[in-house]
Symmetry: C3
Subunit: 410 residues, 3 copies
């Protein structure tokens, strides 16, 4: 990573994304067998990660946990719950921590400064950046990752989402700009509070992808974002209804939850009705000929679920259609996040290192003459002469024992 | 394990139980020293386990955690609490997860599908099986373990309980059917909602053990279970009072909590009185000459506790009598569960493998002639010629250096 | 450790403290690089630790977690929250455990008896000792550590605090008694309920440090403590206001929170006013010429925080003054606690062992003649002839191959 923290989707340069996705592919392949998994556990072996989540979370929490487990990190956690305040508002508290004794969050993160990396999720926009600033100001080496801050950003999710898109387009190895600039994505649902939308748009914009924001007026993209995107030359369109989309002209759909509970100031019945209007059914997906449907989850009515015992859902839900890419997107979560952690915390370990180490597993030593020895194959040639993963010896049957007074029969 | 998931006690064949208990014994012995513990940690090294507990739990939760730790797995968790609803009922919520945003449990388990094994506890009978079905239907490789589902089953506890019985009978290595068919057990307390009772009976029935269900009428074994047990030819007797047992005729007692709180529809005072009637005191145990008393815990009044500072408890509690086997039963929890995990997740690693690896720890290489080398003993004979845990060499002082152009002085 | 459990600060002999602090220094240095971290993870590899915290905690909880992670232990946790009772009092519950079904704590700790070490925090004085007694009485090998018990003690924090003081005085390696007896410390704030104060005083008293307790009358040191300290010959002074301290005569300040919430029987407004009177500002620290200010955290008003965006705090807070040693004290928490765990759970592993193992990392074998071999340096001399961390061989280029029929060319 070029920066010490992961705070915004904006910070990912294209070369950084390419490196991340190469690491993602490597991790995917290593996870497939025991040998690879043990090798992968060396990446963060001896390092610690703390997950500090003020807000509830399933995916972000467990996927970062799993990412840490994959890399061999030790993972600690502190989680919060929502409490209803007398004034009708909601407050999140880390119920088990000294926050309950009125601790400042600035002191809390300093207390956790011995973790090598902290993943923070908070209900307040800018909170995570503020904490990163405090840690930097007081000289802590801790890396901070934004796991979602209020209506702000959710950069790790955006990186997962973009990887899913790249995989669908078959351009993970190296981005195909021509292909990307002819790609279009429709963000359907809540573009107002949807922090995953804001973050993903910041990644797709610079790649030239055409973005269509399809939201009811009350949930449309905030004015500040629109202005920013326009200034940065992103290709954006703003629509109000799903039917405004021309069939066959949108490849990807990024669907988001219309969060009824969060709009306390709004008429709830109205929002519920909206959720139904923006529902993605089999009929809609077929009619508009989408290539792939994504969703950051959790979902509600806007993306009907398929349930084995409920035949009604079988008619509507797209869960079992090939266009449904959201389960794969979910499945990639821990893998892409592991790549993110790796690049942030252990950049000194390259992909080559793991490949070399994986290779070295089957051999036991190497001679100065360039041959390597396996207990099964005996001595054999190898492409490069020296590996830091194999002990070096001074003689082999091909170069003969040396008698220069230095080393014989090692 | 013959099946992908652990959902019911019914699925354990006798040969499976025998294998499980051999693994349990092996784990017990490996846990005794550092060397063995490190070896054991190889079994699930690189694998991950998620504990998703909607209901509170001490033993099942921590014993599965410990089982995972013993085997070297990385363990993540998600736990729920009970909330009082306005209608007087109780609901369990995973307070930290997106369940709080109304997530479907089907989506939740899919989000956790990257865990190699998921242990689920839920208040609803059939819930765990439903989740296993969804994961299978959508192609996840995840193993699911039922950690207790409502009034349904609690298979892992039943396997622990049966091991305790086998140990008392001295027939862990191989079940002694003659001995088992002359064994009798009395289930005293709640046979209605006691899921541990239902699960254990399903294991003991096929082994020919005589089962006496001693419960007040309101808490007697559900009609469906009675019918099922009769059809399967289990030897059952139904009694209403402890005094209906003939002294000396029952070897084992499996005592269970009379769960006052759960019977909201019942007269609470009446239930409290019941708990006292079915109390296991020193007097009862001596009079009825039980061999061993077991209890799945937590306990209430039905099994009085011994407290150092309370002399009253010293007169009543059987905690310090040799018949009290429930602490040993509790102590076996993590060990038997580790065997269960091992058999489910890493069946390719046999007991022989760990024994061989343990043996190989003291040696450093083996010659093709069949000798092995230890840094302390030098070269020595060994029973079997080759071990996959030791590097192979082509010559030793006994077979002489080979000069066939292939390998010398390895 | 000379005892099986860590229950009170009183149990630390001077020789034990010296050993602990040597281990602390060693751990500090090993944590600096990957090699050292991996080595350190061997200390508790294969061991398990359970953190059972009835009361909320940030530092003690995460610092013990981190300490366990550093040493390679597997860490499980059970945490509790406060619940308001109808009678206006507060109760702590382990919300996820069977405590919610009314489980006895004695049964709870027995259920967790398979953990090699249990760290307990509870709101009741004497609770942790009671649990240790029960485990001992029933033959469990589990080590118990007091993580804070009500108004009682907090020994691990005291050990951290003393290490910070020793470091400031530059006498970590070996305590300089002359220097210590000319040292003075002022405990400012709550000496009544401050369990960290009680524990630290028990460590400093025997070392001859002059202790000044500066508290409002309602929060002054309990009579029982005063009497005990007087009998043991500790040098104590009791003051009521900060201004009673003579400038330049107190080296260390140990500031504690005036816990408004806990004094329900008191006039809250009065306590809040007190907190302001005992506030440590830049002006106070400069005027009284303190050498170092410490605080066990969390803090409230008594030690004003520095916030980047709030210029008012820049005038008052001492956070960025060199006298502020509390962040360093906090940073040492996980390290000193790791030394404590090491000494308690793995006393058989000495500092020498880790040093030797660290040294052996760069070598691959040793000859009987006393030479060692590195793949980079070849054969070289070494101070001591044999290391248990290196395989032994029977010949090297300097002593020549042996031909006594036993071993050649190993």
């Amino acid at each position: 990573m070029e920066s010490k923290h992961v705070l915004s989707a904006d910070q990912f340069s294209l070369s950084c994304l390419v490196r991340l996705y190469q690491k993602t592919e490597k991790i995917s392949s290593l996870l497939k067998n025991r040998q690879g998994r043990l090798l992968l556990k060396q990446v963060m072996n001896g390092r610690t990660m703390g997950l500090i989540f003020y807000q509830p979370s399933t995916r972000t929490f467990h996927h970062f946990s799993l990412a840490g487990f994959f890399l061999g990190a030790s993972v600690g956690a502190e989680r919060g719950v929502a409490r209803d305040l007398p004034n009708g508002k909601v407050e999140w508290d880390l119920v088990f921590s000294s926050q309950m004794k009125g601790e400042y969050p600035e002191d809390l993160v300093r207390a956790l400064g011995r973790y090598d990396v902290l993943v923070l999720r908070h209900h307040q926009q800018g909170f995570v950046e503020r904490m990163a600033d405090i840690l930097d100001a007081f000289g802590y080496a801790t890396h901070v990752i934004n796991g979602g801050d209020g209506d702000g950003e959710h950069p790790s999710q955006a990186v997962v989402d973009l990887f899913t898109i790249f995989q669908c387009l078959g351009c993970v190895e190296r981005p195909d700009f021509e292909r990307l600039s002819s790609t279009s994505i429709a963000f359907i649902g809540d573009s107002f509070m949807g922090r995953t939308v804001h973050s993903l748009a910041r990644l797709l914009g610079p790649l030239g992808v055409l973005m269509r924001f399809v939201s009811p007026r009350v949930l449309s993209l905030p004015e500040a974002c629109r202005r920013e995107f326009a200034e940065r030359g992103f290709r954006c369109e703003y629509l109000e209804r799903i039917d405004d989309l021309t069939p066959g002209e949108t490849m990807f759909v990024y669907n988001t939850r219309i969060q009824v509970a969060d709009y306390v100031w709004e008429d709830r019945a109205h929002i519920t009705k909206l959720a139904e209007e923006y529902m993605l059914t089999q009929e809609v997906v077929r009619r508009l000929r989408f290539l792939a449907v994504m969703h950051p989850f959790p979902r509600r009515k806007e993306l009907p679920i398929w349930l084995p015992d409920d035949p009604d859902t079988h008619e509507i839900s797209i869960d079992r259609m090939p266009e449904a890419q959201y389960f794969r997107q979910m499945d990639l979560g821990p893998v892409v996040r592991a790549a993110l952690l790796w690049d942030l915390v252990a950049p000194e370990i390259g992909i080559q290192d793991l490949e070399e180490a994986q290779w070295a597993e089957s051999f036991t030593k190497q001679c100065m003459c360039g041959k390597v020895f396996s207990t099964i194959l005996g001595w054999a040639e190898r492409p490069q002469p020296y590996s830091r993963y194999l002990p070096k010896v001074a003689s082999c049957p091909y170069c003969g024992p040396r008698r220069d007074g230095q080393i014989i029969h090692v």
